[in-house]
C-alpha cells in the first residue's frame, strides 16, 4: 500500500437548482472551502485541472477563465472531460502529475452549471449524448439507456420495483441530513404508488425506470487538493491517501455491449485495477460512494465492486446493509439521487464525502467505527467510462 499522493483539502458548493451566479463564482465556492481546509494559499499550488461536461458550458475553454478567477495564474492549467466522471479523471491526471515528480501540489476543480443553458438547449444536447451516428437518430436519452440495463437485469435476477424504490428511500433519508444536497425531502413509499396522480415519483420516464429512479440535476462545484508525500507531511495533520486508482472504457453502442444482466463492464474493470493497486479486497472497504445516477445503477455497482455476488445486489438493500449502520454503508450523503448530480462536480463531491468520513468529520452522516478505507465509484456516460478510487488514512 503506497502512500505517494494525498488529499489535504476538500470543498464543495451547495448543490442547487439554478445557481445565482456565474461559473467562476460557482467554482470559487468549492475552491475557497478546499483551500481553507488545506490551510494553503495560491502560491503553494503548482498546477490546476478543471473538469466539466463541456456541452453545458457557454464559456469555451473554461480552464483559463476559472484559473484567473481563482488566482491560480501563471501556473499551468488545463481541462479534462469524461462526462459524469470528469473530476475523477481529473484526480487521476493530477495523481499522475505528482507521482511523476512534475508537481507537488495540484488543484482539481469540478464544476457544472447545468442551468447555464435553457431547458430546450439541454434537451437538444441530451439527444446527442449517445452515438450521434447510429443511436441518437432513434431518440435515445440517458434514462432509456439505463432502463435497458434495468429491464434485462430485473428479468434475470428477480430485482423488483420495490427494491429500486428502497434505493431511493435510502438516498433521500441522507439527503434530508446533508445541508449541501439539492433534494432535502424524505421520499416515502406512497410517493411511488402506481396510478396515483399525487404520487410524484411513480410516473414512467423510460420504463421500467420511474421519476423516482432518476437522479436530481443540479448546479454545483467540487474541489480536491492533491499533494506529494513530502508536502503532505509539511501541510497537513490529517492527510488522506490515494491508495488505488482504476479506470476503464466500454463501447458507446448498445449493440456492442456484452451482457445487460451483468451491469456495467467498466465498473468491474476499474474496481479490479483499484483493488489490486491498493492491495485490498472489497471486504476492506468501510464506506463507499457509488454512481447512483439511477437506482438500478446503485444495485449494479454493489456487484461491480464486489460488495454482493453477481445477481444478488438486491439483498444488500433488502437487508439495509448499505445504510450508515450497515456492513457496507453506501452513499450516506444522499448520492446522486438526492445530493444531486452536477455532472463535472460529481466525482470530486463523492471524494470529499469519503475524505470527511475517513477523517471523522462527516457530521450527522458519519459512519460509526472510525472507517479507515473508503471507495469512490464514478461512471461517465452509460458505462462509457468507469473510475474507481480508493482512499485510506
Amino acid at each position: 500500500m503506497k502512500k505517494d499522493v494525498a488529499v489535504i483539502g476538500v470543498g464543495q458548493s451547495s448543490f442547487v437548482r439554478g445557481y445565482e451566479g456565474s461559473i467562476r463564482e460557482l467554482a470559487f465556492e468549492a475552491f475557497r472551502e478546499a483551500m481553507q481546509d488545506a490551510g494553503i494559499t495560491q502560491k503553494d499550488v503548482d498546477a490546476s485541472i478543471f473538469c466539466s461536461a463541456p456541452e453545458y458550458d457557454k464559456q469555451r475553454s473554461p480552464a483559463g477563465v476559472l484559473a484567473e478567477y481563482l488566482g491560480l495564474i501563471p501556473q499551468p492549467t488545463f481541462y479534462v472531460e469524461s462526462v459524469c466522471s470528469s473530476s475523477s479523471t481529473g484526480v487521476k491526471v493530477g495523481y499522475s502529475m505528482i507521482k511523476s515528480g512534475l508537481h507537488d501540489v495540484v488543484v482539481v476543480l469540478g464544476f457544472q452549471k447545468m442551468s447555464e443553458i435553457t431547458s430546450a438547449e439541454s434537451q437538444e444536447r441530451m439527444g446527442r449524448g449517445a452515438d450521434i451516428q447510429w443511436e441518437a437518430p432513434f431518440g435515445t436519452m440517458m434514462p432509456a439507456y439505463y432502463a435497458l440495463y434495468a429491464q434485462a437485469y430485473m428479468a434475470k435476477n428477480g430485482l423488483t420495483h420495490d427494491d429500486l424504490m428502497n434505493v431511493r428511500l435510502k438516498a433521500s433519508s441522507y439527503g434530508v441530513i446533508n445541508e449541501r444536497a439539492v433534494y432535502r425531502k424524505q421520499v416515502k413509499p406512497e410517493d411511488f404508488k402506481q396510478g396515483d396522480p399525487e404520487a410524484k415519483m411513480a410516473g414512467p420516464v423510460a420504463w421500467p425506470l420511474r421519476v423516482g429512479d432518476c437522479c436530481a440535476n443540479a448546479d454545483g462545484s467540487s474541489c480536491i487538493i492533491l499533494v506529494s508525500a513530502k508536502k503532505a507531511k509539511a501541510f497537513s495533520k490529517k492527510p488522506v491517501w490515494i491508495l488505488g486508482i482504476g479506470a476503464s472504457s466500454e463501447a458507446v453502442n448498445m449493440a456492442a455491449r456484452p451482457d445487460f444482466t451483468k451491469g456495467l463492464s467498466v465498473g468491474y474493470g476499474a474496481a479490479a485495477q483499484a483493488y489490486k493497486m491498493a492491495g485490498i479486497t472489497s471486504k476492506d472497504v468501510k464506506v463507499a460512494e457509488v454512481h447512483d445516477c439511477f437506482t438500478i445503477a446503485e444495485i449494479m455497482a454493489y456487484e461491480g465492486l464486489g460488495f454482493a455476488p453477481m445477481g444478488e445486489g438486491k439483498q444488500l438493500i433488502r437487508e439495509k446493509a448499505t445504510y450508515k449502520e450497515g456492513k457496507i454503508p453506501v452513499n450516506v450523503d444522499g448520492g446522486l439521487l438526492s445530493k444531486g448530480h452536477p455532472i463535472g462536480a460529481t466525482g470530486g463531491s463523492q471524494m470529499r464525502t469519503i475524505v470527511l468520513q475517513l477523517r471523522g468529520e462527516a457530521g450527522p452522516m458519519q459512519v460509526p467505527g472510525e472507517p479507515d478505507i473508503g471507495l469512490v465509484h464514478n461512471i461517465g456516460g452509460v458505462g462509457l467510462y468507469g473510475n474507481v478510487t480508493i482512499f485510506g488514512r
Binding site: 430546450a120 434537451q123 437538444e124 441530451m126 439527444g127 446527442r128 452515438d131 450521434i132 451516428q133 447510429w134 443511436e135 441518437a136 437518430p137 432513434f138 431518440g139 435515445t140 436519452m141 434514462p143 432509456a144 432502463a147 435497458l148 440495463y149 434495468a150 429491464q151 434485462a152 428479468a155 434475470k156 410516473g203 414512467p204 420516464v205 423510460a206 420504463w207 421500467p208 425506470l209 453502442n253 448498445m254 449493440a255 456492442a256 455491449r257 445487460f260
Partner: protein, 137 residues
Amino acid sequence: MGFEKFGRKSFTAVTKTAKFVDLLAEGKIEGTVCKDCGAKFFPPRADCTKCFSKNMDWFEMPKKGKLETFTTAHYAPFGFEGDPPYSMGVVDFGNDLKLFARIAKDIKLEEVKVGMDVTVRPLKYEDNQLSFEIAKT
C-alpha cells in the same frame, strides 16, 4: 452526403458508410465485412479494427434474433417530442452481432418480453427518413 436521411432524425450527413441508407432504400439492412480478415461489424464501419484494412464489403444482417432487452420512453429528446411513447431494444443474433433500434408500433407493449424471438425490417417515415425497426417474427 446522404446519411442525413437515416433515422427519425439524423445528426450527421457525412460518413464513409452512407451507402447504408441506399441499402435501406432497397429494403436491405446491412453491416460491413472486412474483405481481408472477414471480421463483421454492425453498426457498419469503414475501417477494420481487427486488421486495420479499409477494404470493406457489405453483408445482409441475419433475420432471426432474440430481444435481449428493451425500454419504453415516455419522454423524448428535442426533435422527437411528438413520438412518445416509443420502445427501443437490443436484438442479439448470436456470433457477436447485435442491433439497437426502435420496436415496431404493431407489437403490443404487453407482448414484449426479454428473450422473445424477433426480426428486423426496414422502415420509411412519412417524411421519407429511412430507418429499421424490430418486429415480430
